[in-house]
């Protein structure tokens, strides 16, 4: 796998290169600004771009803007955003259109090497890796939104669903029977305009796509 890293802190940039190398992932370019990132993606055609949000010169949301540009110009390049903070607004912008090949994680997650490398591989393979904090923010109840019509229990179930748990996983987490979970899931799908999808993975993507669209619509 070939990766481009955009991170303005030298310490973290070099750390990330080492960390990815542990798993045999090759860093083809490590840059520190958004324009340099775009150049690198254009010339090197990597499989994945790992991107910091705040970079020079503006130190605001350069990374998010660059990620959106990459997703629209080179949809085959996966993007993984790393940030000291996660914000649902940025997540909504990233997920709108497509929930494929995208990740948005707190930088803290790099400390758990195994899980982080797993997320990198998942995103590069076309999957999604969202920080639980992002999911929590996407699921914040807004008056008038369909999410607000869910009961507290249904809200919990949806939150676990969005994190990628299967019905049996949700049942274990909430200490209820699997049929009770199935009932909640049916109620959720009745209240939210979501298509019934067979696999848990597709279901997660449907939920996230729906939530992102909700946020974008505001």
């Amino acid at each position: 796998m070939r990766v481009v890293i955009a991170e303005d802190s030298t310490l973290l940039r070099e750390g990330l290169v080492r960390l990815l190398a542990l798993d045999g992932i090759e860093t083809v370019a490590a840059v520190d600004t958004a324009p340099a990132l775009i150049d690198a993606v254009a010339t090197l055609a990597p499989d994945l771009a790992v991107i910091d949000v705040r970079m020079p010169p503006g130190f605001s949301d350069e990374g998010i803007r660059a990620a959106l540009e990459i997703r629209s110009r080179w949809p085959e390049v996966a993007v993984l955003i790393l940030s000291q903070y996660v914000e649902e607004r940025y997540a909504a912008e990233l997920l709108s259109g497509s929930t494929r090949s995208v990740g948005y994680l707190l930088k803290d997650r790099v400390a758990d090497v195994g899980e982080f490398l797993g997320a990198v591989r998942r995103v590069a393979a076309g999957g999604t890796a969202l920080d639980p904090e992002v999911v929590a923010q996407l699921l914040v109840r807004r008056v008038g939104s369909p999410v607000d019509r869910l009961t507290p229990r249904e809200h919990e179930v949806l939150s676990l669903m969005a994190q990628g748990l299967s019905n049996s996983g949700i049942a274990t987490a909430l200490v209820v029977s699997e049929s009770a979970v199935a009932k909640h899931v049916n109620a959720i799908f009745a209240k939210l305009p979501l298509p019934e999808t067979p696999t848990p993975h597709r279901r997660v993507l449907a939920v996230l796509g729906f939530l992102a669209a909700q946020k974008e619509a505001r």
Binding site: D108, A111, A136, Q137, V140, R141, R142, V143, P152
Partner: protein
């Protein structure tokens, strides 16, 4: 501007501190002499200009030119008189604020409709003329006194009205000397009294009206406060940026390297493994704590995407379910957004800490140029808004942008915290 005023005050008193006793006779005489001299010249000039202006009304341009000249001369004379007060009486009279306008006609209209111009004109022409007359009278006193006292030398009879007082007889000579002395001795106190009266009139006619002074002061204070609020905001942003670019990155790198060490170091002794595991866990804890602190200072998303987006993060991080009802269609001024975020953040912290609530709702609306925030919980109530540093700090922060804060918390709940913050939109 503030500093110049300060230095001026070191050697001249403000209008409220004028005292008759503080006026020195010699200066009083000079004060009247200059006032009278300027006064008679000013009277002639101003009357001429007024006549010319009125007479030239049919030729619009002529009237405009003469009128403008009149305004300029009048305001220059006022300045001269004010500096005369400062030079001879040590009195500082604050000039009325200038009429701001670049267009001649508009400026003329504004000036002519304010009392400032007419009061100054009255002083410059009428009081100036009176000073001239009084000055002449005082000069006459002085002259007559001198004539009396020098009469014995020249040996001429002194005529006072219809009386002729000879200097030959000791009685009449004595009378002449007494009258002469009295005339001269009377001049200094009269001069002081006249100078005092003149100064009082000048304060009223050439100075700034009390209300105008207060208005200016309020504006000045409001400006100073806005500056302080802005500075505090900027400082919070700076600290947030410093922590983000420095400490947080270092700590992240530390946690990452500890993670790498854990994943790659083979065959550690149990105690070394335990130490490494604990260091790794501590580093991650520290990251979480630091993130909480930094986000409390000033969340970056507040600047990038506004209040609505920033509140999502607050709601998601709250341990109890928080429902949002936010309708703020446009971006608000940054200090307002920062205060609003702080209000919701503190209110939710209080709800979690003290109320025992199982859920809370946050509402934000903009109406009538004010941002209305309302945070309701379903807890036990009984919060005393007068105690607790949290609520006091909240109230102060809201007051710093002219906002109001109310807390209603009957026993048994619900607790409703509301804030209204002017946002100029």
């Amino acid at each position: 501007m503030a500093s110049t005023r300060h230095t001026e005050r070191q050697w001249s008193a403000p209008a409220s501190e004028l005292r008759y006793r503080g006026i020195r006779p010699g200066y009083a005489v000079l004060h009247i002499a200059t006032g009278g001299t300027i006064g008679i010249a000013a009277f002639v000039t101003l009357v001429t200009l007024v006549w010319l202006t009125l007479g030239l009304v049919p030729t619009v341009v002529g009237a405009l030119v003469c009128g403008s000249l009149l305004l300029a001369v009048n305001s220059a004379l006022s300045a001269v008189h004010r500096s005369r007060m400062r030079a001879f009486l040590g009195l500082h009279i604050t000039a009325p604020s200038r009429v701001p306008s670049d267009r001649v006609l508009r400026r003329l209209r504004l000036v002519l409709t304010t009392a400032t111009f007419w009061k100054a004109l009255a002083y410059n022409a009428i009081v100036g003329l009176a000073l001239f007359v009084i000055g002449v009278v005082l000069l006459a006193f002085l002259g007559a006194g001198l004539v009396c006292l020098t009469a014995p030398i020249f040996d001429t009879p002194v005529t006072l009205g219809s009386w002729g007082l000879s200097t030959q007889s000791p009685v009449t000579l004595g009378a002449v000397l007494i009258i002469g002395t009295a005339l001269i001795v009377a001049v200094p106190p009269m001069a002081r009294a006249v100078a005092y009266g003149d100064a009082r009139i000048a304060i009223a006619l050439l100075g700034r009206a009390r209300t105008e002074e207060l208005v200016q002061r309020v504006e000045h204070l409001a400006q100073a406060r806005t500056g302080t609020v802005d500075a505090a905001d900027a400082e919070r942003r700076r600290i947030e940026r410093d922590l983000h670019d420095g400490t947080q990155q270092r700590l992240t790198a530390l946690a990452m390297n500890l993670g790498v060490a854990r994943a790659t170091l083979p065959d550690l002794t149990p105690s070394a493994q335990a130490a490494l595991d604990q260091a790794h866990a501590e580093a991650k804890e520290a990251l979480v704590e630091l993130r909480g602190i930094v986000r409390g200072l000033h969340p970056a998303v507040l600047d990038d995407r506004g209040l609505d987006a920033a509140l999502s993060g607050l709601a998601a991080r709250s341990p109890i379910p928080v429902s949002l009802d936010v309708h703020v269609p446009q971006r608000l001024p940054r200090p307002i957004e920062a205060v609003a975020y702080f209000v919701v953040s503190e209110a939710l912290t209080n709800v979690v800490k003290h109320s025992g609530a199982s859920r809370a709702q946050v509402m934000a609306r903009v109406a009538d140029g004010r941002l209305h925030l309302r945070i309701v919980d379903d807890g036990a109530g009984g919060a005393d808004p007068t105690t607790g540093t949290g609520l006091t700090g909240l109230r102060q922060r809201v007051a710093s942008v002219d906002g109001e804060l109310t807390v209603e918390s009957p026993l048994g709940g619900p607790t409703v915290l509301e804030a209204w913050i002017p946002c100029g939109s």
